[in-house]
Amino acid sequence: MHLGTRIRALALASAGLFVVAACGGTTAAPSLNLAPAAQQILRVNTGVEPNSFDPTQQSYTYEAAVGRNTFQSLLQPKADLSDVQPAAAKSYDVSSDGLTYTFHLQPNAKWSDGKPVTASDWVYGYQHLLNPALAAPYVDPFFDTTIAGAANYGNVDVSSASAIDSYLSGLGLSAPDANTFVIKLAHPAAYFKWVVTLWVAIPLRKDVVESAAGGTFASTDTTKAEVWANNASTIIGNGAFKISEIVSKDHVTMVPNTYYWGGAPKLQQVIYYYISDGNTEFSKYQTGALDIANVPLADVTVVQGDATLSKQAYLYPELTAFWMTFNTQKAPFDNPKVRLAFAKSIDRNALATDVEHGTAKGLASFIPNGMAGYDTSDTTQSFDPTAAKALLASAGVTASTLNQFKLLTRNTTGSKTINQYIVNQWNTNLGLNIQLDVIDSKTVTSRIRKGDFDIYGPDGWGADYPDQQDWADIFVSGSCHSLNWGCPTLAGYDALVQKADTELNQTQRNADYLTAQKELIDQAAVAFMYQPYEYDLVAPYVHITHTAFDDQYAPGDQNYATAYITAH
């Protein structure tokens, strides 16, 4: 999952299920105490306008919040994240060699215009996603040695319709009958069941896309292929909601898809506002104009100290981890001892409790709390300033060498505050005088991509799905300069991760991923820092089931199908 422009946009929650209920109830009572239909309106802030309403073109959490409600993927994660559960597919079978996935679709599934969802719509949707000319930003997990015939994605001549068409028809996607969708893989991948839960993997209606474009069009035509996604009336999805109104730069309104196979939602309207300023969002919630709002970092103490607001606040961990990246191509950061010294000289707990006011938790390991692979037994990177100083001394690096390095920082308020703290920790605990370099976010990206930096952070990852493969792949050497900006040399890591990725035995996979994680920590591939928490306000009359991982952006956003407003 791509991290959004605000730290808050990282929200991938973890940890179990909790229910936010009115009238003190913790589970849905038999009598729902529903507010009248006219009041069944939920107003939420997503902060940023989606770049597209076509889920295959979405990559940020605030976009997927809309995409996941208007379209539905084949499977979805279970509430406890232990496995997948049925969604648009009623069930699925995997062949014994792990190469063929057969999805049995929900027999009553209907589009928001009432037409039945067929397996050929799924084939068309996946082909739309995999059309190289459309350059979908989140397509990698599908072509990258997963779906059979997809590996050639990068070599297709996108100016030739016949080349694209032959590539798409050669993919391992088929519809043997109207209710069966079959995907063939290039190699066994135990994690593939998670890949199909992604918001980009959805069905599409060929007739709708083409009529919006004014007729059939060549597969090279990138403009016509997206016309449908810019008009509420042609965004016809298979999700619980459909878009009724698009007000550019301000909000999008969703209303129930009355044909939804799982039963029409009780909420009559869900409005996603695009308020980018944290203070504005907080103010708006306080005047009662928002029902769910994120609390800006500076206002956490205000909420905690307010008798009314503190009762409406919910704190829960995100499936996200942050770390500091060292340019290991540059001496002395090629020396693991130096990196470890830096990692060990940061008081992560003070960062989490004081600077972040408890909306984070120190994490000296890789995979965050709430998903498989979370393990804090390796304390190599834990805070120990004395040991850190000793490491630096044994590496033979002087302060004057280190003082010429800078900590590259994105110009978001969150990064700036955290990095001022971190640099102060290094300077205090290691006796250094390292400076910050705060610049425009895109400039930072262009610099780290070229390797033009010394230390950079906080950088991080939010889980796409709760499988270690999604995390371990980040640090394989082949993905250098994609998120693995520091490019550390890790002996044996690549082979270990590749083995675990294709392994079908889950116990063996877990063991391999754990060994791989240990190497990341011990070699200080990066300095692991913290796991962020969401701190949100939810109005007392909002009844949502919050199933952690599903909730990509705002609390309960994956369960608005079952959410409702209680009488108030």
């Binding site: 422009t5 306008e49 730069k249 980018s276 103010s283 005047t287 976010s441 895109k442 998120l483």
Partner: protein, 342 residues
């Protein structure tokens, strides 16, 4: 007195409209305006030229992410092809000019399948409404405060306007806006149990415009007031004004007819660009009050390197500013017919 009676023309004392519009004058004015409108073509060309190449020089590509995993090289390559960025820059530039000549400003990179024209068209009504309303407040308030302060120089009136201007200039408008929201939205809602308060950010609600307009107008009012005060003081000290005063005309008449008219030149000069800035949007006010205008759209376009959107908004702004400055120059003639335009 000779100073008055002997003036080469009476424009300084009497309404100048008639003399400004005398037939030959109007003719040359028309030629002047037409010439200046034609000048906009090279202006827009140079603005596009500079912006285009600066934009490509700026580090970071439109496909860079602002955090997290980068797009794969394959996807970036295909995106370049999709939006024509694989061609040499001079070819892209030529193509852009050709399209602009046909009023086609291209597709936004950021918003899939949306044209720049659509995006600007969606935002401009909000931005322009806000800007025009603010301008309508700024002009009378700023000028009135400035004239009053000058006439009552070193009195309480003068000091109050000075205090106001200082406060307005030293608290940036996002702080003023946020403080107003705290007081008039949040605290007011609490005191009145949600009976009466101003919306914090709710474009479309009736009273949503009050706070953004005030926020937007404060600094220009302060500046206009100080500017008017300074130029009014300059004018008051001119001999012919002293004379007019001595002639026993009522103070008000002196002020309106002589002082104001003669002190307006610098005010009009700065109000032109101010108007252009107001109607093309303030990123800060639009962010604090969450207004879907083009001021914020431009900044978002820059930070996300949405090239066509950057160019589109810049071209729009260059036309607005050129027109505003043209209006200013024409107004000079109306204010003081002796001013010669070239």
């Amino acid at each position: 007195m000779a100073v008055i009676a002997g003036r080469p023309n009476r424009g300084a004392l009497l309404p100048s409209r008639l003399s400004a519009l005398s037939s030959s004058r109007a003719g040359s004015l028309t030629i002047f305006i037409v010439r200046r409108i034609l000048w906009m073509i090279p202006i827009v060309f140079f603005v596009i030229l500079i912006t285009f190449f600066l934009m490509h020089l700026a580090p970071g590509s439109p496909w860079d992410r602002s955090g997290g995993r980068e797009l794969s090289a394959v996807v970036r390559h295909n995106l370049d092809i999709k939006y024509g960025l694989n061609q040499p820059e001079y070819q892209q530039f030529e193509l852009y000019l050709w399209n602009v000549a046909h009023f086609d400003f291209g597709l936004s990179y950021q918003y899939e399948g949306k044209t720049v024209t659509t995006l600007i068209g969606e935002g401009i009504p909000y931005t322009a409404t806000l800007g025009v309303l603010a301008f309508v407040i700024i002009v009378p308030l700023g000028i009135a405060m400035g004239v009053l302060a000058a006439l009552r120089q070193n009195t309480r009136t003068d000091y109050i306007t000075m205090g106001f201007a200082t406060a307005a200039a030293s608290f940036p408008n996002f702080v003023v806006g946020a403080l107003m929201v705290v007081v008039f939205s949040v605290e007011m809602a609490k005191w009145t149990q949600h009976a009466f308060f101003l919306p914090a950010a709710d474009f479309g609600v009736d009273d949503h415009l009050i706070m953004p307009v005030i926020t937007l107008a404060l600094l220009p009012i302060a500046y206009t007031a100080r500017l008017t005060r300074a130029s009014t003081l300059d004018t008051i000290r001119q001999d012919y004004i002293r004379t007019a005063w001595a002639k026993g005309l009522s103070e008000r008449l002196v002020v309106v007819k002589h002082v104001l008219k003669n002190s307006l030149i610098p005010v009009v000069t700065t109000l032109g660009p101010t108007f252009a800035f107001l109607v093309t949007g303030s990123v800060i006010v639009e962010t604090v009050f969450n207004i879907p205008g083009i001021g914020r759209a431009f900044v978002v376009a820059v930070t996300s390197r949405d090239y066509p959107m950057i160019l589109g908004t810049t071209v729009l702004f260059s036309v607005v500013i050129a027109v505003a400055n043209l209006v200013v120059d024409v107004l000079y003639v109306f204010i003081d017919p002796r001013v010669r335009l070239t």
